[in-house]
Symmetry: D2
Subunit: 248 residues, 4 copies
């Protein structure tokens, strides 16, 4: 299997500003995720953070990325519009995108889906979450049990302002009484997009084996395909047109 | 049946700059469409054009519009971003939107769908188009035969850069050898969106009885619904949370 | 508005065999639902039960039904295949079908969807169910709050063996820890199909105002449309075929 | 890559009864397709035909098949219901199924989709077909140009009585004026299903390099996935249920 190039992007602010978050993710959420992914020899893994030059997402890096993973929260607004647009173009051109947790409110997620994806219910009380597999034949659920249980997480509740997913893989049950569409697949342009809910910065979610497995599975699923040729713009007719010309 | 308020928006430039277009639509494309819709007593119809103050789309007008019809082409870029954003918000909040023909490249269509909807194949040779009904039970196809034939139209061909429609009602056959997804339904936020392909300014398409009937049907289909209550943001738990609190 | 003809079909066995069920629905589940629907003057409501001749679903009755509501459970196998096939044909030809609760295992539901729709998790412990609205702009959710709470119900849990719904309107949270796709819309042929989960015979669910409202809304949503003309079989070409004939 | 086991099933009647068909496919359509697939070392390919014992689809063969390809036409009715049911169960349990051309009217296709999939328009005049790629990022379109052109084929025209596909990969343009949804993906149970239109027995379509490439691509796409665990039936609550028990 050819090598797949993955870039794990993280805002990387909470970890540097909040002691408790730092104690969970001392080298950042991106490092926790990347440390898992590099165990797979078929993956070539880089990280990038908000405060890198160009947010670590230069043209070269983007060109050289097959699947981009995105975690952001408190500084969505600091991501430059120009770079968001570059990421969006790469996705439409075939790069996979995995948006994690609070990344639902990011500019890149909103711009690709068109709705106000920041809107949902939430509660940061550290309650139990149980993600049920809805599509048990989906490759993103490979090797998972009937559900993933996370002892303590932030709650996200419906109504979540997304377009209906092309494929709905997980739905979460929360101890406090809510439910949420937690694993959502989209095909946009030539690219694939997966939203995966868990991962609040104050809980060790990105060390949970099943959460990591889903992220690994999603990387494989979102990998670019060769696909078919495509072109746009004015074209000559393939068949003879008998009709007289129109008013020009 | 309660009255439905429809605003027909038109760029209204071709008709004032090109004699041949003016000869077909002397009072503008918006006028041709509105003249048809007002025959239905259940509709209250207004028009608005690009060169009106605020493009004719003041806060008051938008608040007072149940379904907005959109035709634009040569001046997409002149539509102010702020007004696009207001229209988008109204759609997500429940207003219906019908985007016609070259409106596929408009800012409002792109911002609601998230893809580069301006990208497609085209040819302006005045060839025959035949729109086949794919979903014969869909209300947008009410009263139509098996297909709509238009003697001369501009061709649009796939690949059309849209997300897969929630419902695909029409697919066009073109004399020159192409096909196109010509009638596409989307649900975004609380609102409904219909894209309908025909309507190049150099052909009398908006006098075609079946084209007008589809637009009328789409107005009914896109009408706002009452729907369910919704709220967002932090919420208290409904059920008691037994878990100890997390790292805060 | 034209009158809509609704037939409420019920197996009507539990109510006659079990005292406790009889105490809740003395005249049967069909009667409870029909008694609500007849308050709407735009509806003309009939009932039919399994032990009627032809299960109360004669050709004439089916021809004269716009929307059929279906409740069955312990006697799915007693429904004659021939009548199932007639109902299926009517749905594909435009009749609306609303399948309630344990009707998920009925022959008619399975034959229209093609999967083993009887397969799901269940538990009959009388726990709390909360149905969250996922699509708050959907007409089936008209007038509902953010959720419907039912104090005691049978639990149904995923994986539910259905094709992914065309529209997912409700997802249930259960006290015991499961979730379920509780309101599922399908378009099949010219007809529309809605599955609605609540309604175990040992609980007074069909007196719950919001449950009744959803059923009413679903009746309106599932009403037949005029639609477009359709025909099948061999047809002559519309356009001239230049190619030489094939090997015949 | 692990070996994938493919069984190519063919009715194999036209080839033995019609000289012209025999001259195109002397060893049968199944042989033409299998001869292509075996060039791929990752595939292990068998064939089976209607007149084999158990139609060549014994329990053992089905258990040992990852992807089943199906071509049938004149003898759909001769396929035993019991074997159809076994194939359907295997698909719902994860086996991929590729239905070709006139297989749209087969019992297995109808039973998995639930609609009258035999209904469509047709014309056997040997006209030009052009299959346009709609989803250019889809793996089933890998390596294809913008369209596939087939000089002479039978025409199939809409309305085609299928549920809206989960993914629509190809749409055909026909010389005689019709269009058709030619490449349709479905996910049913744990299995995947692809319908591919071309392949009338009187034309050498299964020697066309792009048609063969699509079939190869579809085999890879339809391959079973590991997926998640699943179970059905009565389950104990995961969480404590506080509600008093219901009427039992």
């Amino acid at each position: 299997m050819a090598t797949l190039k993955v870039t794990v992007w993280n805002e990387y602010r909470h970890e540097r500003q909040n002691e408790k978050v730092a104690s969970i993710y001392p080298q950042g959420i991106h490092h926790a995720i990347a440390s898992h992914l590099i165990k797979n020899e078929a993956l070539q893994v880089k990280t990038a953070v908000l405060d890198d030059p160009e947010h670590g997402l230069s043209d070269e890096t983007l060109r050289d990325t097959d699947v981009l993973i995105w975690w952001g929260h408190m500084a969505h607004d600091e991501v430059q519009d120009e770079i968001v647009e570059k990421v969006r173009s790469r996705v439409l051109d075939g790069m996979g995108l995995i948006v994690l947790h609070s990344g639902h409110g990011s500019k890149i997620f909103q711009s690709l889906l068109g709705t106000k994806t920041g809107a949902l219910k939430w509660r940061d009380d550290g309650e139990k979450e149980r993600l049920w597999v809805i599509e048990h034949g989906h490759p993103i659920a490979d090797g998972i049990g009937e559900y993933i249980e996370i002892p303590q997480e932030e709650m996200y509740g419906e109504r979540f302002e997304i377009p209906a997913p092309d494929e709905l893989v997980f739905v979460s049950w929360f101890e406090g009484g809510e439910i949420f569409r937690s694993g959502c697949c989209y095909r946009r342009g030539k690219g694939k997009l997966f939203y995966f809910r868990p991962g609040h910065e104050t809980f060790p979610t990105y060390y949970h084996p099943d959460v990591l497995r889903v992220i690994s599975n999603a990387v494989s699923w979102a990998a670019p395909t060769q696909g078919a040729a495509v072109s746009y713009g004015r074209v000559d007719p393939i068949e003879k047109i008998a009709s007289a010309g129109g008013v020009r």
